[in-house]
């Protein structure tokens, strides 16, 4: 029964570990795919996913069924690409699904590929994910042997080939068009739009890119229907969500909960609250590239609209907590170091602007800040961060935590400048800038 409440992780709970092909099928696995392929048209599959209001779980929240419907009805090759490049700092949800229930993804991809008419699918998997690779690779082989991939699946004329591309690294590969370049064996610079991937993606062919968690939601929707899926969510949004918490809490981890569960419940009930002696100061609600929220936001539901209204993004839904032992300047420096280093180097504001921010933050953190530095950060952040000012949204993501840190923790920045020292330094060593 837990699968009906927790369609993503219920099977893992039931089995108490890795879900094998046998266990997966025993729990009704691949039946959704069988129904889709043998009883439904691709259009009907798209329709039910649309109706279920499944939204992209990679961070952007775009309605999945709508995205699928953008694939033009043209002859020739189409691709489904699963974005398994889980590199958003603070995020560890897709790893869990792959390590423990890889067939859920395989089935989700089989259904999605059928829905968009793709005969070739790829999982773009981040390079450091060795164990997830081993499990997924084994699952794909098992599925192939069982006739669940390859030619004539379920006795239909439908054929699907599924391969894994292991990434050579770099955060930017998570951007869907950069990912396509990487998949094609090129440098992972994001692409110009138009063309949009559904019209012209991998190798110039229609391509849908979906996140692992998104695709793992598809079999459940096909099994239990759109209405069931809608009812799983608490607020406006449908389904469950994998929420995670890292930082100084008693029980860091990952939970599948109805989408729209409050931040407070996630932190206090599931993550066991803050460790003793530490006070919560800031929350990065959905990974490193989301704006800080603070204590006043604890009662917000974690869904796309509520978090956006509070000036941040639900992102990947895996939150990072900053406690009162952490220097807001230091964490900002850490974040800007990350984003500057992970810039692909294509457009000027991101490539040259982020290292400058990093350098100024390093100066402030080291007590070498100068008057006017905060205004310099404000101005540059505004120019670098505004969507459209840079080629893709990498720099926008970089600026979100910085601008919000400058807003919520400004006194810390000012104190560094005024005193020429970091008062947190005794607690935590200063990270040197790669400058």
């Amino acid at each position: 029964m837990s699968v009906e409440l927790k369609p993503l992780t219920g099977r893992i709970d039931d089995v108490g570990g890795l879900v094998s092909l046998e266990a997966y099928r025993e729990a009704g696995g691949y039946e959704a795919a069988r129904r889709a392929l043998t009883e439904m048209t691709p259009g009907e599959v798209q329709e039910i996913v649309k109706e279920a209001n499944l939204r992209g779980r990679g961070g952007a929240g775009f309605p999945t069924g709508v995205k699928w419907s953008f694939v033009p009805d043209v002859e020739g090759r189409k691709y489904l690409v699963c974005n398994g490049d889980e590199m958003e700092p603070g995020t560890f949800k897709d790893r869990y699904l792959l390590e423990y229930d890889p067939h859920l993804l395989v089935e989700g991809m089989l259904i999605a590929s059928y829905a968009i008419g793709a005969d070739q699918a790829y999982v773009f998997l981040r390079g450091e994910y060795h164990e997830p690779y081993r499990q997924l690779d084994a699952a794909i082989r098992a599925a192939r042997e069982a006739g669940l991939l390859g030619d004539g699946i379920f006795g239909t004329s439908y054929a699907l080939s599924l391969d894994i591309h292991r990434s050579g690294g770099r955060y930017i590969c998570g951007e869907e068009t950069a990912l396509l370049n990487a998949l094609e064996g090129k440098r992972a610079n994001p692409r110009t739009k138009p063309p949009f991937p559904p019209a012209s993606g991998a190798w110039g062919r229609p391509t849908i890119v979906n996140n692992i968690e998104t695709l793992c939601n598809v079999p459940g929707i096909l099994s239990h229907g759109a209405e069931w899926y809608q009812d799983l969510g608490i607020g406006e949004d449908s389904g469950t969500k994998l929420y995670g918490v890292s930082g100084r809490v008693n029980n860091p981890g990952l939970w599948e909960l109805p989408i729209g569960t409050t931040i407070r419940e996630i932190i206090e009930v599931h993550a066991g609250g803050m460790m003793e002696g530490y006070r919560l100061r800031g929350i990065l609600p959905g990974g490193a590239s989301t704006d800080f929220l603070v204590e006043e936001h604890l009662d917000l539901p974690m869904d796309y609209g509520s978090i956006q209204a509070a000036g941040s993004r639900m992102g990947t839904g895996t939150m990072i907590l900053m406690d009162d032992s952490v220097c807001p300047v230091g964490i900002s420096l850490n974040l800007q170091h990350f984003f500057a280093q992970e810039s692909c180097g294509f457009c000027t504001p991101c490539r040259e602007g982020l290292p400058w921010l990093e350098q100024v933050l390093a100066d402030i953190e080291a007590g070498r800040g100068e008057p006017g530095d905060l205004e310099l950060l404000d101005k540059n952040a505004a120019f670098i961060g505004a969507p459209g000012n840079t080629f893709c949204l990498h720099a926008t993501g970089a600026i979100e935590p910085l601008q919000s840190a400058l807003k919520y923790f400004r006194e810390d920045f000012e104190e560094h400048l005024a005193t020429g020292r970091c008062k947190y330094r005794d607690v935590m060593p200063v990270q040197e800038s790669a400058g």
Binding site: H130, R170, G185, R187, S246, Q341
Partner: protein, 162 residues
């Protein structure tokens, strides 16, 4: 170096694996990253010679392939030790004290990030979020993930890698 010699740099096994990878993509240069990974898996890193040989095998110029190789941080264009130690420096691990862990690793193996021990046993590299944030601070040695790692755990972990 002549073209024939270029190919001879690669073993038959490497060539077979690269050919297999190339059969899963529409054109040969699309298998560039897989090919680099295959050769790195065998040799630890990608030398200029390997670049030339792989490029030739895939029908591209050495510069084209190197342009790709130098983009990706998991493709090593310099020699590394027998084991690559990657200490996560991203935000969750930062909150949980990754700088302390990094310093402890540096002290244990005696090299700074980007360096290789004199006995070629370890290369220490910083790495972005390993997706083990609930186990922060995390580190990875070769393909094994560790976390949360306390300084006291290090000797026991490191001794598994000779």
């Amino acid at each position: 170096m002549s073209e024939v010699e270029f190919i001879e740099v690669l073993s038959n096994e490497e060539i077979d694996l690269i050919e297999e990878a190339a059969s899963h993509v529409p054109d040969r240069p699309s298998a560039a990253i897989e090919a680099l990974q295959i050769v790195q898996e065998k040799r630890g890193w990608i030398s200029d010679q390997s670049i030339g040989a792989i490029a030739r095998l895939l029908g591209m110029s050495a510069a084209e392939l190197d342009s790709i190789a130098t983009f990706y941080n998991l493709i090593f264009r310099q020699p590394v030790g027998r084991h690559v130690v990657m200490v996560c420096d991203s935000v969750s691990c930062y909150v949980m004290g990754c700088d302390n862990l990094r310093v402890a690793v540096e002290d244990s193996i005696g090299v700074k990030p980007g360096e290789t021990t004199a006995d070629d046993r370890f290369t220490l590299l910083p790495i972005v979020c390993l997706g083990a944030c609930d186990r922060a601070p995390a580190m990875m040695i070769d393909d094994q993930l560790f976390g949360p790692v306390k300084a006291d755990d290090l000797p026991g972990i490191l001794e598994q890698f000779e």
